[in-house]
Symmetry: C2
Amino acid sequence: MSEADTLLAQGRRRVVIEGVKPQIDHGRFAVKRIVGDRMEIEADIFADGYDEISAWLLYRHENERGWHEIPMQALVNDRWRAVFDLEQLGRYRYTVQAWVDAFGSWRRDLKKRVAAAQDIALQFLIGANLLEDASSNLKSADARRLKASIKALRGEGSDEARLQVALDGDLAALMARTPQKGRITKFDRELAVVVDRERARFSAWYEMFPRSCGKGTFSDAAKYLPYIAEMGFDILYLPPVHPIGKTHRKGSNNRPTAAPDEPGSPWAIGAEDGGHKGVASQLGTQADFRAFVARAKQYNLEIALDIAFQCSPDHPYVKEHPQWFRWRPDNTVQYAENPPKIYQDIYPLDFETADWQALWQELKSVFLFWIGQGVRVFRVDNPHTKPFRFWEWLITEVKQQYPDVLFLAEAFTRPKIMYQLAKLGFSQSYTYFTWRNERWDLIEYFTELTQTEAREFFRPNPWPNTPDILHEYLQTGGRPAFIIRYILAATLGANYGIYGPAFELCEHVPRESGSEEYLDSEKYQTRAWALDRPDSLHPLIARVNRIRRENPALQSDWRLKFHTTGNEQLIAYSKSTETLDNVIVVVVNLDAHNTQAGWLHLTTKDVGIPAHEPLVARDLLTGARYTWHGADHYVALNPHGQPAHVLRIETLA
Amino acid sequence: MSEADTLLAQGRRRVVIEGVKPQIDHGRFAVKRIVGDRMEIEADIFADGYDEISAWLLYRHENERGWHEIPMQALVNDRWRAVFDLEQLGRYRYTVQAWVDAFGSWRRDLKKRVAAAQDIALQFLIGANLLEDASSNLKSADARRLKASIKALRGEGSDEARLQVALDGDLAALMARTPQKGRITKFDRELAVVVDRERARFSAWYEMFPRSCGKGTFSDAAKYLPYIAEMGFDILYLPPVHPIGKTHRKGSNNRPTAAPDEPGSPWAIGAEDGGHKGVASQLGTQADFRAFVARAKQYNLEIALDIAFQCSPDHPYVKEHPQWFRWRPDNTVQYAENPPKIYQDIYPLDFETADWQALWQELKSVFLFWIGQGVRVFRVDNPHTKPFRFWEWLITEVKQQYPDVLFLAEAFTRPKIMYQLAKLGFSQSYTYFTWRNERWDLIEYFTELTQTEAREFFRPNPWPNTPDILHEYLQTGGRPAFIIRYILAATLGANYGIYGPAFELCEHVPRESGSEEYLDSEKYQTRAWALDRPDSLHPLIARVNRIRRENPALQSDWRLKFHTTGNEQLIAYSKSTETLDNVIVVVVNLDAHNTQAGWLHLTTKDVGIPAHEPLVARDLLTGARYTWHGADHYVALNPHGQPAHVLRIETLA
């Protein structure tokens, strides 16, 4: 049928449905929510003329067959809304239907006629005809109900009696649910929302190399669990735990060759004794790993595994599935390159292989294997160097079976690629936070992440450091710089992480000047950390993580709002619950060297306390209590004393 | 196939194409352009990893079978662009395709390897293999060309000679056009652009009741053509010219009954002697109408007809097609109502009729009939009270046959409905301009219309008055108010119109206080106008329309920009050509009673003249010439002298 013929055939679908939100790329991708969230759907819905409209939100969990239908409510300017509760993990679908409600329109006009004292005798007959038309589409009980109303409207009763029948609310509701034939406009797509567990929105990550713990076994690492749990983290993330290749193994500080006793990089995955499903024997056995996971659980710590789909030349795949690698005309496998740089210790998997479907299935089985070992959180290394469709397929498949699994995308790349990975399903994403050190830059970036459509799919997980990134700010700013960056990460991001113990011990020396690599990086060697150093940030971290748990405002990013301070070195922002029953205001001195002062501006709308009433700002870091009047409040922060306020707003009472 | 299986099957489509612009509602509707325009298409295009991408814009006119393919160019941040010329009226389609360019990636890396003085012998063999893979997909001439290159690359030539072969530009271009099998990502929709003639973007309309001309015939009206042409209008729009109903005919000033000699409203269409395809005998015959159209053409005036799909009780349709009306249980036809108001002189057509397809076809034939009489411009009365799909179908069908036909939507209704009508095909639209009389309000509204996505489909046609709307501002502001509103309409809108002679004669008395209806409105009676009154705005209008024709900046709305004046009563804006070779700055005093002064701020970017050079602002209304230095210029306007400047920016030279 031509487009014109379609329009002609559908000529009785008078309602238009547009602008359905939330919606990513016209429904190509799902939005994200947390179990227990209320899902608010809005749409522009209108028709020609002045008739009433009946609009319905349809939704169903992927495991349900039938749709739930709930009526939408008109707001202003032809915008409609409906809300439903997300009660289960997994994927829900939703869409919108609407039609002109002929009976509702008649009923509305009848009331106007009555108010204008017009003769309405004829109207009862018109109404009865509308009911009669509808009754053929109805089930017997409803049809019988209509028949009674029709009889009454056509009967000899008084106007008052018939009016009561005509305006009956249940009848109106029944008729609003009963579209005339051929009149339904369906929004042309089913949209989707992926519902995760709370940890997807609110989590504190701690990255640690277990091989640096004691003698470097899982049971040594288990002894560090109380230390990590005391700091209040939720997720303990381990770099790859697999056997490490020997061929072209890198030495300490990324030297091209390793000494015989050097352990190599955990990201050079695979050796004779196993690949992505193996555990390096230095760390222990699979049973040791499972025991470690179980022990961590006792400390409320989930283990996150690093999945890095790349192979050392010694990986079993090279022999077992040579077709998954790119072979060069000299019958060698193509190693990783970024010309002119070469990385001979790494063989990339060739996703262009004709055998890609088997490769995808195998890589999926890697996730399923570790899920079988008790892991539910994965940090995925460099996902942007593997095809987008691969990740979309993999994450969809895994989450269909295990909707509680979370994926963190470790991609530090161009903005649209970062977003694409989030759209296609990654639960959380690393960010540019590490390189956003100025006030304007932080405001611009976090406004984009939390106040635009991006928040529907991209959950930021800011890290002040990683084993790959020691920013110059930390290299030069001393302990205050670590505190500043830590408080920013942990309060700007409901999700955040640090790489420790390097972080809490303020490890700050780069491999060489101008580099963001650590000197003596744990990527290539083990380190012994003096965890009990008196200048450790351990107590501060413990306090901030407790503040995060006690204050729901800090457990989501959607209500982040920046405030003026009149000083480019002082950043201020608040997070609050929707009802404003929990409001946290954070002020951070971005200058790691000098005291900075300014005027924090807060309105009634920000804090929920009328402008004429004093408010109490309680510093949750120090316990100090400030009584504030008006909207502008003097703040001075000395980085060597207290570089930041984390304030809870309270009433005086 | 499940979604997951589709992803698996399409696993080699590594490129993502998103954010294609222009695009309305995911391609549901076409954007609008003018013949001769350059069509600029942009898209986000990216792939995993670091490979080169080959991206192509495909476009074709609806009358062409094959696609034109042009390469897209990468801008920044993964944004790509291509441009093509819109050379014909009608509808073009466009879409985007892209794939990873394996050979291009290899070629780019080869250059890096050469720069780093690496051994490249193996690379030639790899390149040759890429060419060999491609040659199977190619036509013989291209395949032969590849064979020669393959031979050279695998041959015994020097590195330099083989490098020359490898880096050959034509070879790269051929390979960029040759995707590997299964690798093409196609944007999932074909988008459309409707190309109109220039008059869609740039037109000056004059509305007139021919029955008020002399004795009220077309040949009387023809005598007014020079008068209208002198003012420089393009389009002469006539209210409905059809026979007028007698039943319930309205008298002067909308009285419920007409005296025997009263002519009735032209919008009460249809009588015994004809309906929507008829001409009221008082005006003349069909031949007289055609002669009038032809005569107008000699004055460069196009006749626009008013198409109002509603019937008087005497319309032939009522007898011939009773099924197109809604019948009440008492066997009378349902007249128009907006309870409790009733309009017994009007029978609405019942678009809910089961016979809607025949109704639609008949209504389409009304347009085709008048097109047959030489009309190419239609002003459609109250389109928002007829189904949207009807208009979409009708306009698509008519324009497919007559792509030069223009439709003006006369809908004064809610914002989303105004936009919907424009989206579905109306060439121009009436606006809220009549009610936007304050500076902030004009700026907000025209910024929305000209600087957001709305401009892709909505072409505003602002009118300071219509036979239905005499705004209070005109009722109370005297002649200065008419000048102010006229200059705003004619310079804010590349399209605009007035209802005359009421407008140029400053007719300003409402039917009653608080009403926007004219006293003694021509809708219900004829009027004799004293066209030669010395206070007529005729000369001003003639001058402004000449200014519009001589200055391309005023012939489009897309480059409208507002400027500060420091005075809420002084509005200032500019329009310019893209190259800034024509820049018009308009300053209007919105206060019809008092002189207002302020400082007009113009930057180099606005006027294209470096800040340190003086510029000349030539007032095209008065001929005055101002030499201005710097960015801020004092402006004072006396509404009783000159309420506005229309300035052309020139260099001193």
